[in-house]
């Protein structure tokens, strides 16, 4: 296949796609489960503010937790029913730690709250962004950053290009692929809306050449529009936003800058489809397409309500024939093992893979690093993974930072090619979270220092003020009779004793 105007980035790998496993069947619909568990934190930013209490009746699409501030997203009831409880439940997070969730018991009537489509063509940009801040839409590619924040633009740098990310480069994941095949119109309409809001001159869809049907569907839907569908070669990690920008435009987003600073904004296909559904149909973000694949009997994509227990999804996919019961969320390159099969479907959950010894054999024993630098050849960010490995392994965090550890996108290419089977990315994740924790505690220490200094200054000031008051009192007393003078000396002595006592307590 010929690629026109494509700029190949450095590195990358070609893992076995395994995508056909889950593309033979259309997107299925799950029955409404017996309960829905909705975490309050499903997005990047501040946790949503609770709007319901146990026992409340809610309608489908009703806001049950509201966005708190700008960088936050609302959460809507995925179906009608009763709020059962608000409690800490285990989340689909590598930590396996619980966090606050709203549990809804559906009434199986699925009654919608009054849908309010927004005539977006009549509203101006700020009004639209304001409206979208209630939509609960976050980046559905996995980054879960509130979408309305990405539509804000600063005056100094207008957006020229809107990139729609349809690459879906991770093996096994097909949720975007299926969405494009079945709902290409929604995606194109959503892209046009996003383009209008951003005021972008052009809109490019970047799609990998392994998704032929999806590409055809998109091309058909985009026939009468100015949207360009650009096919990019299948190389992991082409779906990383900055890699995709390079592939499509040959522009490298510099370190510590966002693509927005260069006039480029990137949205995932599912995100723009959600924008379309919210504005045109009045449907907030209450469900998403999830791929359930791997060792399950019938791998397929499902439109699942947020909060659906993963166990229901597994049952729908024919159950798991093997006994390992290990499930990976995300792809095999960047995903993580789920702590339990009872975790809910969240906005970030694009794919669940049942692991089995045949698909993912146990990792081979780790051998020492021989500095072959294959990882450096594979790194799409042009880092020196072998150096980062040494510094992370020996906890030389400052050094690791100097070698641009924080530019690492944790794509796993280095781990994939390492002939010594070293879990390199795990070391980088460890080093990154250690550095972040240290910075946080440094910040806390600075606050404590400030507060302590303020307190000492305040005590000093109070002491001075008291001394002044006494001096003034003493002056007034002098003019009076000797009796009063005696009294004041006693009072002053008492005050001194008190002060001494207080000082004794303090020291």
């Amino acid at each position: 296949m010929q690629f026109k105007n494509i700029f190949k980035f450095h590195g990358g790998v070609h893992p076995n796609g395994n995508k056909s496993l889950s593309t033979s069947l259309p997107i299925g619909r799950l029955p409404i489960p017996k309960k829905l568990v909705l975490p309050l934190r499903q997005h990047v930013g501040r946790v949503a503010k609770l709007k319901v209490k146990p026992g409340d009746q809610v309608l489908k699409g009703q806001i049950i937790a509201e966005a708190d501030g700008n960088v936050s997203a609302s959460i809507h009831a995925p179906t009608s029913g009763k709020v059962l409880k608000i409690s800490e439940e285990i989340l689909p997070h590598p930590s396996g730690l619980p966090d606050f969730c709203i549990t809804i018991e559906p009434d199986f009537k699925d009654t919608w709250i009054e849908k309010k489509p927004i005539s977006w063509k009549k509203l101006d940009r700020t009004e639209l962004i304001e409206a979208l801040s209630q939509s609960g839409i976050v980046g559905l590619g996995g980054a879960v950053f509130p979408t309305h924040m990405k539509l804000r633009i600063n005056q100094s740098q207008p957006i020229n290009t809107l990139v729609i990310n349809a690459a879906e480069c991770e093996p096994f994941i097909t949720c975007d692929d299926m969405l494009m095949r079945e709902r290409a119109d929604e995606i194109i309409q959503g892209a046009l809306i996003a383009q209008t809001i951003l005021g972008a001159k052009e809109c490019v869809v970047g799609i990998e050449n392994n998704k032929i049907e999806a590409c055809e569907a998109l091309k058909k839907a985009a026939q009468k529009t100015a949207i360009e569908i650009k096919v990019v070669p299948t190389v992991y990690p082409s779906g990383d936003a900055k890699r995709l920008i390079y592939l499509l435009m040959g522009i490298e987003v510099p370190k510590e800058k966002r693509s927005m600073d260069l006039g480029i904004q990137v949205f995932n296909v599912a995100t723009v489809a959600a924008i379309y559904r919210y504005l045109e149909l009045g449907e907030p973000s209450i469900s998403r397409v999830v791929t359930i694949t791997g060792a399950v009997k019938a791998p397929q994509n499902y439109e699942a309500l947020f909060g659906t227990p993963l166990s229901e999804l597994i049952i729908a996919a024919g159950g798991s024939p093997n006994k390992t019961k290990k499930f990976i969320m995300g792809g095999p390159m960047m995903g993580f093992d789920l702590p339990s099969i009872h975790v809910p479907v969240t906005k970030a959950m694009n794919c669940v893979i049942e692991s089995s010894p045949e698909l993912f054999p146990a990792p081979k024993p780790v051998m020492p690093c021989i500095r072959c630098a294959r990882c450096a050849d594979a790194c799409p960010v042009n880092l020196q993974p072998q150096e980062l490995y040494w510094f992370s392994k020996s906890s030389q965090l400052e050094k690791a930072k100097d070698y641009n550890l924080f530019d690492c996108i944790e794509c796993g290419c280095c781990t994939y090619v390492c002939p010594s089977n070293i879990p390199l990315v795990q070391f980088y994740r460890y080093a990154k979270s250690e550095i972040i924790a240290q910075e946080k505690s440094k910040e806390a220490a600075n606050t404590a220092r400030e507060r302590n200094e303020f307190r000492l200054a305040r005590i000093e000031r109070e002491k001075k003020e008291r001394a002044e008051r006494h001096a003034q009192k003493a002056l007034g007393a002098n003019e009076k009779q000797a009796d009063d003078e005696k009294k004041s000396t006693i009072a002053a002595a008492m005050e001194r004793v008190k002060q001494n006592q207080q000082e004794n307590i303090k020291t």
Binding site: R41, L91, H93, P94, S95, L97, P98, D99, P363, P365, V366, M367, P423, Q426, F427, R429, Y430, K432, S433, E434, I436, A437, S441, A444, A445, N446, T447, A448, R449, R451, N452, E453, F454, R455, Q502, I505, K506, T507
Partner: protein
């Protein structure tokens, strides 16, 4: 001979003037060493080192009066950082000053609190909220876990609660894996 002498004298005077001027112009207020040591200390303000706070301890270290291993909240890592900064040999934490404990915050049992304000006066970072004969409470986000509020409390209603890991403060752990046995044994 005379010319050489004159040149040397002229140079000496000129350099002296420059040095004298820069000594006044670029004078550094305070001891920068104290600030650098203070930046390493954890700012718990607990006084376990024997000084009434982190800054006094930093001053004492800078003067050479105190050792670098007297800070239990800083632990061995803190002592290491201080040793590196001061250019001295690392010493493990002197356990006479206390053991390094996991980070905790104070918690007031509000039903027992009598509102005596003694803990408020003891808190080095103003992290306790309350007034006379009113219930007190700890502002957990500001509490450094120094335990200074424990001894003054007449009803022993303050306990230290270790800060547990939650999904926000969770960290990726150091990777642990099997290595290949190459000896054949």
């Amino acid at each position: 001979m005379i010319t050489a002498l004159l040149v040397m004298i002229f140079l000496a005077v000129l350099l002296g003037l420059i040095l004298g001027y820069s000594a006044i112009k670029f004078k550094v207020d305070g001891d920068p060493m104290v600030a650098r040591i203070d930046a390493i200390l954890p700012q718990t303000q607990c006084g376990q080192c024997g000084y009434p706070g982190c800054k006094p301890y930093a001053t004492a270290i800078a003067k050479g009066e105190a050792d670098i291993n007297q800070c239990p909240p800083g632990g061995d890592t803190g002592a290491k950082a201080l040793a590196e900064l001061m250019g001295v040999e690392f010493k493990p934490l002197n356990q006479e000053h206390g053991l390094q404990k996991p980070k905790s915050v104070a918690l007031i049992d509000e039903s027992t609190c009598i509102g005596c304000t003694l803990c408020i006066q003891a808190c080095p970072v103003d992290a306790i909220l309350g007034a006379a004969k009113q219930m007190h409470t700890i502002i957990a986000s500001e509490c450094t876990g120094c335990e200074l509020c424990l001894p003054p409390c007449p009803v022993d209603c303050i306990t230290m609660e270790p800060v547990l890991e939650n999904s926000q403060s969770w960290k990726w752990k150091y990777p642990v894996y099997n290595i290949q046995n190459t000896t054949g044994a």
